[in-house]
């Protein structure tokens, strides 16, 4: 038995450090995932996956903190994946979502993992999907994914959840603008957070109007909840709605349909990453720079170059 097998075995038995290491391996390198996932995939599929998304500063982490408490009160084991942006300038990131979840730091049944968005080439979706599987195989009953949801990649990440909560804040005209950009359609539940500040009714009305325009074929009417940061008031009801939505998915048969959509998204992501990786090993970054120079100097056009590359691209896999 090699050391990676040993690590997987330890993880399945409940070793927290082994789980931490396995997530790192899969985040850093798809070939590790190709070894690890086949060994854990068949143990997964039991956890309820909850996505929480909304603009920066809307209070997602505080809401997650409350939800963890409720789940723990019912004896549920909780995993959290908190995604924060990587700086596009330096490639570094400060991951601070944990700060809002302080009271769960030493609860051994709560596993919080911070993840940076890293490159733009699609690795995030693959890494998040695999991290969810690892937490599931580890035995978590609920897995919460928290992300800003700005940009296609992050929307993709949260879209795969069983239940998606979209958080917004009143008096931030822009927040609804942000929501319009694509996360509005994926919300199963809407939380208007910091509902004690002015403009809450207007915010609720705007969300309601937008919802009336979209049609959800599943027959679930997304509720709009008022929440107040990390106060119990409101968070309690939000928690109930999340559980209600989960029951709805099972009763209506949409649970399986969503899972199929999720696996399709994952499969697509993995394939896409594989192609990109192979593309870079076939046509180096340096060569791409040279080709781009020719296009810029009007010596060649992009399609002409692709035509020339096709024989090499056919050998990609």
């Amino acid at each position: 038995m090699n050391s990676l097998d040993e690590l997987i075995k330890k993880m399945i038995k409940g070793d927290r450090r082994a789980l931490g290491k396995i997530i790192t391996l899969m985040e850093n390198d798809s070939s590790s995932s190709a070894y690890i996932i086949p060994k854990i995939h068949y143990l997964t599929g039991k956890a309820h996956i909850v996505g929480i998304t909304g603009p920066p500063g809307s209070g997602k982490s505080s809401i997650v903190d409350k939800l963890i408490s409720y789940y723990r009160n019912e004896g549920k084991k909780v995993g959290v994946v908190a995604i924060d942006p990587t700086s596009p300038f330096t490639g570094g990131a400060i991951l601070g979502d944990r700060i809002r979840m302080k009271k769960h730091y030493t609860d051994k049944e709560v596993f919080i993992r911070s993840m940076a968005t890293r490159g733009n080439l699609g690795g995030l979706s693959e890494a998040t999907g695999n991290t969810i599987k690892a937490l599931d195989a580890f035995g978590k009953d609920v897995i919460i994914i928290e992300t800003v949801g700005a940009g296609q990649v992050e929307v993709d990440v949260v879209k795969v959840a069983d239940t998606v909560v979209v958080v917004s804040v009143p008096s931030m005209g822009d927040s609804v603008q942000t929501l319009k950009a694509g996360i509005m359609e994926i919300g199963d539940i809407f939380a208007v957070n910091k509902a004690d500040i002015e403009g809450v009714e207007k915010c609720i009305m705007e969300i309601r109007m937008m919802l009336e325009l979209s049609d959800k074929e599943e027959g679930w009417n997304p509720p709009i909840m008022k929440t107040f940061g990390n106060k119990d008031d409101g968070a309690n009801e939000l928690y109930d709605e999340i559980k209600k939505h989960n029951s709805f998915l099972f009763d209506s048969g949409y649970h399986e349909k969503r899972r199929i959509i999720r696996e399709k998204t994952e499969l697509f992501n993995i394939l896409q990453n594989l192609f990109i990786k192979n593309l870079y090993s076939t046509v180096s970054e340096k060569e791409m720079d040279e080709l781009a120079k020719k296009i810029a100097n009007r010596e060649k056009d992009p399609y002409m170059i692709i035509e020339e590359l096709i024989p090499r691209l056919k050998k990609l896999i």
């Binding site: 330096t90 400060i94 601070g96 944990r98 700060i99 730091y105 596993f111 919080i112 993992r113 990453n273």
Partner: protein, 133 residues
């Protein structure tokens, strides 16, 4: 495409009143391309070790201003041992008298950075220590 990144935990154990220095270091490490997990003020050694395990960090940096460094560093190191994670290197910063440094080195603290340290030196030190870049 997946890529490898250094993950660093910057933590403040004990009852310090502010975390200015820790935040400066966190930013400097981020600007050097690292992923910095920052946990905020007033952490216990237990919570720091638990975070280090969950986040699978390559290095732990502890900032202490309160004077309780001897006790807090020892506690963190002991707990790491209990979890079989003593291989995660620890460095420190804050207000730590010269006289206490031999003791801290002795229990396994790799390096202490005092006030006035150039953040670039910390970056270089971490990169050399982890030997990954």
């Amino acid at each position: 495409m997946p890529e490898k990144k250094l993950r660093i935990l910057i933590a403040k154990p004990g009852l310090d009143g502010h975390d200015r220095g820790a935040k400066v270091v966190a930013r400097a490490l981020r600007d050097a391309g690292m992923e910095v997990i920052y946990t905020g003020l007033r952490q216990t050694p237990e919570s720091i070790v638990e975070t280090a395990l969950q986040e699978d960090v390559d290095v732990i940096g502890l900032s202490i201003l309160s004077g309780a460094h001897n006790h807090l560093f020892k506690k963190v190191i002991d707990l790491l041992k209990e979890e079989g994670a003593e291989d995660i290197p620890i460095f420190g910063g804050g207000i730590i008298p010269e006289d206490d440094m031999p003791y801290l080195k002795g229990i396994g603290v790799k390096k202490i950075f005092g006030p006035g340290t150039n953040t670039g030196d910390i970056v270089t030190y971490i990169k050399e220590m982890t030997n990954k870049f």
